[in-house]
C-alpha cells in the first residue's frame, strides 16, 4: 500500500477500506486460493476419470439417473437469487440499508450462475454433443427453456453487475491509492470514460432502473423453469403445481443465507465492520426467517394435501420420507434447516450475535442442499412399477466434483473481490449527506454523486447541492 495518508473522514475511510484489498495480497489470501485450487484440481482429476470411463464411475444408474450433479445445479441456481433479491428488489423498495451489500449479492448471483451450468455438463453422457441442443433442439422441452433461461439470466446479471460497477471502476482509476495498481489499465478500459457528469449519471440511472425491473421476472422465470424440469414429468413426487413457487421460495431462502455468510467473511477479512453492521445481519436474518417460514408453509401445504389423499404411490413416498430410509435427511432439513434458523433469528438473545445469524444462514443452506437432494434422488427413488425403491449412493467422483464446484464458486468470489471493490463505494457516497464545504470542490465533484432516489424520480442536480432539497436549485 502506498500513499497512506491519515484516514480522517467517512469518504476517505470508505475508499481506504474498499480499495485496500485490491492493492495487496496477503498470505492468508494466497493460502485460501491454493486450497481452493487443490479442490478444483481434484475435481479436474475426477472429471478426467469420468470423461474417460463414462458415467459408470458415478453412482447414477437407470432408475436414479440424476444424482448429486443435478442436486448441485438446483442448489447453485437457488443461490443465484441473492443478487436479484438484494440489489433489484430492495433497490426498488428503496431499502437503503442494502447499499453496502448490493455488490456482494451481485457477485454471488454471477458466480452461482457460472458454476450451475457446469453441473449440467458434468451430468451429460455426451457433453461433446452440447451443440445438438441448438442444431436439433426442441423448444418444447423444459430443458431447452432452462438453457435459454439460464443464459438470459447470466448475461443479464453480468451486465447488471457491470453497470453498477462503472462508477466504482472510475473511482479505482482515479484513486491515488491505486496509482500503481497492476490492473489500472483494466479499470481504465472498463470505466468507459466515466466522469460522473450529469448526463452520464442520468443514463446510468435510467439503465439501472430498467435492468433492475427486468431482472426480477428473469430471475423468477429461471427458478420456475428449473422447477419445471421436474414438475413437467409424470413422477408422482414431482407432479405438483406448487413446484415453481416452492423453488422461488427456496431460492430466496438459500440466496439470503449465502449472502449472510459471505458478508460475515468479508467483514472479517477486509475489516468492513463499519459498513456491515449488526443491523445488516439482523435485517438479512429477518428475511432469512421470513423465507424459512415461506418454505415451511410450502412443505406443510404440499405434504398435508398429498398425505391426506395418499394418491397412488404417495403413501410409500411419504412413508419413506417421514419414517423410512429418507427420514434422517428430511428431519435434518426440516428441523435444523428450517425451524432452527427461524428460531435463531426470532429469539432476541441469539439474534443479537452475528455468529448466531451466520449459523442460521449456514444451517439454512445445508438444509436447502438436503432438500434439493431429497427432491432429485428421493423423487426418483420412488418406484412407479412393481419394483423395490431404487437406491443411489454417490461415488468419490461425484463427491470430488461437488467439492470442486463449491471451491470454484468460492474461488470466483475470492478473485472478484480482489479485482473490484466489494462494496458499492459510489452508491454509499452518494447517499452520504454532504458535509459543509471544507474540502476542495473538485474532490466533491468526483466522489459525491446524486442520490438514488433522486435518480429514479426527480431531476438531477448539476452540481453537488446541499442535501435538504436534493433537487435542482
Amino acid at each position: 500500500m502506498e500513499a497512506v495518508k491519515p484516514v480522517v473522514d467517512f469518504e476517505d475511510r470508505l475508499e481506504e477500506r474498499a480499495f485496500s484489498p485490491l492493492s495487496h495480497i496477503s498470505a492468508k489470501y494466497a493460502l485460501l486460493v491454493a486450497v481452493l485450487l487443490v479442490f478444483i484440481g481434484l475435481g479436474v482429476y475426477a472429471y478426467q476419470t469420468q470423461f474417460r470411463e463414462g458415467l459408470v464411475v458415478t453412482g447414477m444408474r437407470d432408475r436414479i439417473s440424476w444424482g448429486l450433479y443435478v442436486t448441485m445445479f438446483v442448489f447453485f441456481i437457488g443461490i443465484s437469487m441473492a443478487g436479484t433479491l438484494i440489489s433489484a428488489i430492495l433497490r426498488i423498495a428503496h431499502a437503503e440499508w442494502r447499499l453496502p451489500i448490493t455488490r456482494m449479492a451481485e457477485f454471488v448471483t454471477v458466480a452461482a450462475l457460472v458454476i450451475a451450468p457446469v453441473f449440467i455438463l458434468l451430468d451429460m453422457g455426451q457433453p461433446t454433443r452440447l451443440s445438438n441442443l441448438f442444431i436439433f433442439g426442441r423448444w418444447q422441452s423444459p430443458l431447452t427453456w432452462d438453457v435459454f433461461g439460464l443464459t438470459t439470466y447470466l448475461i443479464g446479471s453480468a451486465i447488471y453487475l457491470y453497470l453498477a460497477l462503472i462508477p466504482d471502476l472510475a473511482l479505482c482509476r482515479d484513486s491515488k491509492r491505486l496509482k500503481s495498481h497492476p490492473l489500472k489499465w483494466l479499470f481504465k478500459a472498463f470505466a468507459v470514460e466515466w466522469r460522473g457528469t450529469h448526463s452520464q449519471h442520468h443514463r446510468l440511472a435510467r439503465t439501472l432502473g430498467i435492468f433492475m425491473i427486468v431482472i426480477i421476472p428473469v430471475a423468477v422465470s429461471m427458478h420456475t423453469v428449473t422447477s419445471w424440469i421436474f414438475a413437467m414429468t409424470l413422477r408422482e413426487p414431482w407432479d405438483s403445481t406448487m413446484y415453481a413457487a416452492y423453488f422461488v421460495g427456496g431460492a430466496l431462502y438459500s440466496g439470503v443465507g449465502v449472502l449472510i455468510i459471505l458478508m460475515a467473511v468479508l467483514r472479517k477479512a477486509f475489516h468492513l465492520e463499519e459498513y456491515f453492521k449488526l443491523q445488516h445481519f439482523k435485517n438479512l436474518g429477518y428475511m432469512l426467517a421470513a423465507f424459512s417460514l415461506i418454505v415451511m408453509f410450502f412443505n406443510v401445504s404440499e405434504y398435508v394435501t398429498e398425505g391426506f389423499k395418499l394418491k397412488g404411490d404417495m403413501h410409500l413416498y411419504l412413508e419413506r420420507m417421514f419414517v423410512g430410509p429418507l427420514a434422517p435427511y428430511y428431519w435434518t432439513y426440516a428441523l435444523s434447516g428450517m425451524v432452527l434458523p427461524a428460531l435463531l433469528v426470532a429469539i432476541p438473545a441469539t439474534r443479537r450475535s452475528i455468529g448466531f445469524i451466520v449459523l442460521a444462514a449456514l444451517l439454512a443452506n445445508i438444509g436447502m442442499w438436503i432438500e434439493r437432494y431429497l427432491i432429485v434422488v428421493g423423487g426418483l427413488s420412488l418406484p412407479l412399477q412393481p419394483y423395490h425403491p431404487a437406491i443411489y449412493s454417490p461415488t468419490w467422483v461425484e463427491w470430488s466434483l461437488m467439492a470442486a464446484g463449491i471451491a470454484g464458486f468460492i474461488l470466483l468470489i475470492t478473485l472478484i473481490v480482489k479485482i473490484v471493490p466489494a462494496v458499492a463505494v459510489w452508491e454509499m457516497l452518494e447517499h452520504r449527506k454532504p458535509k459543509p464545504v471544507e474540502e476542495p470542490v473538485e474532490e466533491l465533484e468526483q466522489t459525491r454523486q446524486p442520490g438514488l432516489r433522486v435518480k429514479l424520480g426527480s431531476p438531477f442536480p448539476e452540481k453537488p447541492t446541499p442535501p435538504v432539497d436534493g433537487g435542482r436549485k
Binding site: 458415467l55 444408474r61 453422457g125 445438438n132 441442443l133 413437467m232 412407479l384
Partner: protein
C-alpha cells in the same frame, strides 16, 4: 394409419424369461441393460398371498412423456407409433429417463463384455449398434418390423402370451384379443396411452 402395439396375456405367462433372453440376443445390449424385463413381486399375506408376474417393455405410448421433454430431438415417434431414440443426436441428459413413468429407458453407462475384458465375436458385432453415454430403449425390434417380422420377444415366447400387431386394424389378432378379453394398460390414468396391453 397403423398403430403397432403388443398384447401380453398374463394368464398364460409362465415367467420363463425367454423374452428377456431373446431381447438380449436380438439387440445385443450391454450388461445391465434389459429392454425387456419381467417384474416379479409377492403381494398380500398367507393365505391370500399371490405372486405378481409382469413382463414389461417400452410401452411405445401414443403420447410419450419422454418425447415431450427431449431437448435435442433424439426421441422421435414413427408414423406407426414406434418411439425411437436417435443415438447420434442424444446428448445423454437423461431427462427422458426421469420423465418415463415406466422406467423403460436405459442409460448406456459402459459397453463391456459379459465374459471379461475382451469382447467375444458376437459382442464385437452387436455392440456396434450401441454407444456409451446415451439413452436407449426397446424399439419393438424396428429392424425386424421393417422386414415384416414380429419382435424377437413375441416370436420366442413359448407360452404364446405375446401378440404383436396393428391396434388400429379391427381384424388384427391384437384387436380381436382386446375385444374378446379383459385388458389393462400400465398407469392408464396418467394419459400416456400405452400401446402395450395386458390380458387378465
Amino acid at each position: 394409419m397403423s398403430r403397432l402395439g403388443m398384447v401380453i396375456d398374463l394368464k398364460t405367462c409362465i415367467a420363463c424369461y425367454a423374452c428377456v433372453v431373446s431381447c438380449k440376443v436380438e439387440n445385443g445390449t450391454p450388461p445391465t441393460v434389459f429392454w425387456a424385463k419381467v417384474l416379479e413381486r409377492e403381494e398380500g399375506k398367507y393365505p391370500t398371498a399371490r405372486r405378481i408376474i409382469l413382463p414389461v417393455l417400452c410401452n411405445h405410448c401414443q403420447d410419450p412423456p419422454c418425447l415431450r421433454v427431449c431437448p435435442s430431438g433424439a426421441t422421435t415417434k414413427r408414423e406407426d407409433g414406434i418411439v425411437l431414440v436417435d443415438a447420434k443426436k442424444c446428448v445423454g441428459c437423461k431427462a427422458c429417463m426421469t420423465a418415463c413413468p415406466y422406467d423403460s429407458r436405459y442409460f448406456i453407462k459402459e459397453i463391456r463384455g459379459y465374459f471379461g475384458e475382451d469382447l467375444v465375436p458376437c459382442e464385437r458385432v452387436s455392440y456396434q449398434k450401441h454407444q456409451e453415454g446415451v439413452v436407449e430403449k426397446c424399439t419393438f425390434c424396428v429392424e425386424r418390423v421393417k422386414k415384416g417380422l414380429e419382435p424377437a420377444c413375441v416370436q420366442v415366447c413359448p407360452a404364446s402370451c405375446r401378440h404383436f400387431g396393428d391396434l388400429d386394424d379391427p381384424n388384427s389378432e391384437v384387436s380381436r384379443l382386446l375385444k374378446a378379453r379383459l385388458s389393462f394398460q400400465l398407469l392408464p390414468e396418467i394419459g400416456t396411452k400405452p400401446s402395450v396391453y395386458y390380458l387378465t
